[in-house]
Subunit: 419 residues, 2 copies
């Protein structure tokens, strides 16, 4: 992922802290880079089942109230509360109200057996659960009978029309992630199709003379490409469509040709490796003449970052170590997509207590891998080195140590992002 040393290679990764760009500023730059994709406003209308995991493109108002009509919260007797004085009363039992039926109006002095979810008849204003009745069961249909019922306040066990949401109210805001509950709400509102942001297509190019495709023999000195699988999986999990190039060598003309062959078919280009300060870093070289810059973000890992355009397509250059790649995606691309398009969901962020102390470079935002436990503690997995894939695979959280902090003790509170 790095090219051979060069006479005018300059300093390695890092640079003086005061020259580095903050995490927030780089995230803003990524937001600016992708803003035109949102501005294009490319949306599509999909049946609910196909909209799972998408971001809602526009505010949605409720076309009806939920519940659409007052209905019973219990199996019981629909009554008029005015018919039941303090001591209760004996009422005449009329025809039962099945769910899904439109009941006749309830006459005064009567009680209608009613099932959960059935329409409250006009004239009734409350439900008495059957187990509070005497006798505490429903009479056979067609049999003339009476039932004793206790005094009951108006509205008891009645789900009022619109008590969940009223017609015309905003059901879901633009930018809402459409998960099961949101799609279930739309179904309850009778909405069968929904307008969502279209899926973005990302071209993912991993680079490096030393990198070999998994499943093939491994020559001495080479390593398997994990960045491709890691990032493709993370991007697909985040709802992106991913197009992979072959692994590019460290020759810039080869990388340029690989990227060019996809122009017009992708919304975003992401590369890995070749963004450090050496003169022969392949991605930097391939971007020569393109409006792209290579910056150092005050973050560990994932400091070196490329950003700009290649042949007019937005471009992000992540560093070459696998953990750096994933941290770059989680810190810069994923949250921007969430904020902009409503998909993927935002990471769950929460406070946790460190299971042990740590040190961190004071002028950098350190992102460590950790295992969050349900007691609210987090244990670090592996060290701070960005090549530790096994440790990454054993973690379920990113642990944030902000700029300005150089050490934390066991029990100190940190922000963690759950994966």
């Amino acid at each position: 992922m790095h090219s051979p040393p060069h006479p005018h290679g300059g300093a390695p990764n890092g640079g003086a802290p005061h020259q580095a760009r903050s995490v927030a500023r780089h995230r803003d730059a990524v937001t600016e880079l992708l803003a035109p994709l949102l501005a294009e406003g490319k949306t599509e209308s999909l049946p609910l089942r196909d909209a799972l995991g998408r971001g809602l493109a526009q505010d949605l108002a409720a076309p009806l109230s939920l519940p659409p009509f007052a209905n019973s919260q219990m199996d019981g007797f629909a009554i008029n509360s005015a018919d039941l004085p303090d001591g209760g009363a004996e009422l005449r039992v009329v025809d039962p109200v099945p769910a899904g039926a439109t009941p006749a109006a309830l006459d005064r002095g009567c009680a209608a057996p009613i099932m959960t979810g059935a329409v409250i008849p006009s004239g009734a204003d409350a439900v008495v659960p059957v187990e509070r009745a005497a006798p505490d069961r429903f009479p056979a249909p067609g049999v003339r009978s009476t039932v004793w019922l206790p005094a009951t306040a108006e509205g008891t066990f009645v789900r009022a029309a619109g008590s969940d949401i009223a017609a015309g109210e905003r059901a879901l805001a633009a930018g809402t992630f459409l998960g099961p509950a949101q799609l279930g709400l739309l179904a309850a509102l009778g909405i069968g199709e929904v307008t969502v942001h279209r899926t973005l297509t990302v071209l993912l190019a991993t680079t490096g003379d030393e990198v070999v495709e998994p499943g093939r023999p491994l020559p001495a000195g080479k390593i398997y490409d994990s960045n491709g699988t890691l990032l493709e999986s993370a991007m697909r999990q985040a709802g992106l469509t991913v197009v992979r190039t072959a692994i590019s060598s460290d020759r810039p003309e080869e990388l340029r040709a690989l990227l060019r062959s996809h122009i017009g078919a992708v919304d975003l280009i992401v590369t890995t490796g070749g963004v450090s300060k050496g003169a022969y870093e392949v991605v930097r070289q391939a971007m020569d003449g393109q409006p792209a810059e290579f910056v150092h973000v005050a973050m560990q890992p994932g400091g070196p970052q490329g950003i700009g355009q290649f042949e007019g397509v937005p471009f992000l250059g992540f560093p070459g170590n696998p953990v750096s790649c994933l941290v770059s995606f989680e810190m810069f691309l994923r949250p921007v997509l969430s904020d902009m398009f409503g998909s993927p969901t935002r990471r769950i962020s929460l406070p946790a207590r460190l299971a042990h102390g740590l040190t961190s470079p004071e002028h950098k935002h350190q992102v460590r891998r950790g295992s969050f436990r349900s007691d609210g503690t987090v244990r670090l997995e592996g060290g701070d080195s960005s090549h530790l894939m096994h440790a990454l695979a054993g973690s379920n959280a990113l642990v944030h140590v902000p700029v300005g902090v150089s050490a934390l003790a066991e029990g100190d509170e940190v922000e963690v992002w759950m994966s």
Copy 2:
């Protein structure tokens, strides 16, 4: 979702608390029900990209060490630490070591320019970062030169072979969920295909005379079916393949015919509605003669539950209210699948402080919907009623109030499951 009242309909949902089954016991019953599916051991071997979201079927040992060879953590000079006394020394610069190459052995008294990730030459045992050298840059290749380097301890900036994982060590355990990091690890290990549990196929049948498919006109007294969309989405998000029947009426022979037409093609049947204590509950009736029981779990919502087999296929009958359906899935089916098949991921469980007080039925495990915030507090969304879809759609967590607790105050700690 409920049938008309009947003379011998018995008591409504609920029953005496001491007759109810605990949440844990019902979850165990679901585990037993699905155990034969695990025992069948149906697995498949998939390329990494297709294994995303699956559960690993068997332990996987590392076929090689990571890193496979000692390599440099920095751009710098590979040296033998014995050549650098306390005051440092001037060493002869030899040919650079590019990443991916197999370098020649390093002679004593020499320093080899080396890039991050490149193989440490034999004879070298440490790396001095280029910025600590004098001059602090790499010489031009082919130019004979020397470099002054400070004293450096053995092992400095060397990533030892096997420091992440050693060959033969268990890389991932059977039952591990395969997300981006786990697949990235397999790729780094050169593994191109992986054996995973096959996907289960669920037949989902929603029932009720009062229920209408979204997108169609809504007659008076009817409601739209949200259970189908809600549960299908939740199940698909959990990695299940879902087959939907048409909405069944409350006629048991219709439901039986719908279910029978799918026998042989599905692993599990899930129904919604028709499991309460009335005599004409459609699912109870359709299961007549099948080895299925209808129990009341000490949980709110989601108390009434059906479990057993229909024509030899495992069967779960969830109650008819949408929130009850989702809570049933989250409490009984999803965690059992996670534990048994490694997919979906387990819900993140964490302690949170209540933003306000609540009451709960003392003899039931109450599951409320809430919004967890990154300050560690959780706010309840909507009341405890199981028809509140809008509130559900605005929540991101399930809030657990265990049996034995009837009230909690603002600031009290509760367990929440993130969705």
